[in-house]
Subunit: 140 residues, 2 copies
DNA sequence: TTCAATACTTACCCGGAAGTTAGTGTCCAG
DNA sequence: CTGGACACTAACTTCCGGGTAAGTATTGAA
């Protein structure tokens, strides 16, 4: 079972909160659904560059089980499935906002450090040109 | 190096925030240091039941490298090392508070569900259907 | 007839996170 | 003189999260 190690006995709230977002794409799925309201499976896949179908579903299933996302299936041909955030998902997303803002400040700090460390401090732009990018990973 | 996969190119702030707390004990270390201000290595180990010395140090090192914790070493015999949060560590802890509160609410929900789901063999106070289940204090 | 699109499912594999165990040097209590 | 406290370090092993690739059923389009 996927949920074998999850829902463990939590020692505090942060444990319980971290647990539901632990997963490479969970927070991005949350963000994507929060921004678009309703998304089909394929839309989500295309909206998260680099995610594999297997992981997308696995994460969506876990988040559904955790009561974060709602799954609506229409028995059509071709099949259509719509995902959206539940009330809990929306509130989780809001609870993550301060962390996101903290991370944004951290990114800015790192970019500034990189700009200083680089040999020629010519371009201290916020989008650091020295930042390594590997194919398949989009910079948003 | 431990930091091989870390500090990857982040797609958004949440990525950058999640990265520094990804690690089984990171958030608990943060919590522990935030509560006590200053803690020695052994105190931290005893304060986090189940952590291995290897993981404790590895996490402390990474957090030090990320600018979250400060490490003060006193060349005494026996050796003494004191850990504390930096300004960034403190602000990260505050940024995590909403998530912690969300998690606490989730724990309460889960506890309530468990209370309903179980056939109430252990501690079913009263079977009054009108009685709201209120777990109150967190089970730490 | 073959291909694309839809939303998955299944099998296999790899790398890294985490666990286990042992060892370091110095001092003091027993 | 043996052991423990202290703060680590190192070697080895296990486990599992995530990636890759192929297969499923259906229909319409080329």
């Amino acid at each position: 079972m996927v949920t074998s190690t999850r829902r463990g006995p939590y020692v505090c709230g942060i444990d319980a909160g971290m647990d539901v977002v632990s997963g490479k794409w969970k927070s991005l799925i949350l963000w994507e659904l929060n921004n678009h309201g309703i998304r089909r499976f394929g839309e989500l896949r295309r909206g998260l560059p680099g995610v594999s179908e297997k992981m997308l579903i696995q994460h969506l299933r876990e988040m559904e089980e955790d009561g974060l996302v709602h799954r609506e299936m229409y028995r059509e041909v071709p099949p259509r499935v719509e995902y959206s955030l539940t009330e809990h998902g929306t509130s989780l997303n809001e609870a993550l906002r301060p962390l996101g803002e903290w991370g944004t400040r951290r990114r800015e700090r790192l970019a500034a450090e990189d700009a200083l460390t680089s040999t020629s401090p010519a371009a201290p732009r916020q989008a650091s040109p020295t930042m390594p990018v590997h194919p398949g990973q989009a910079i948003v």
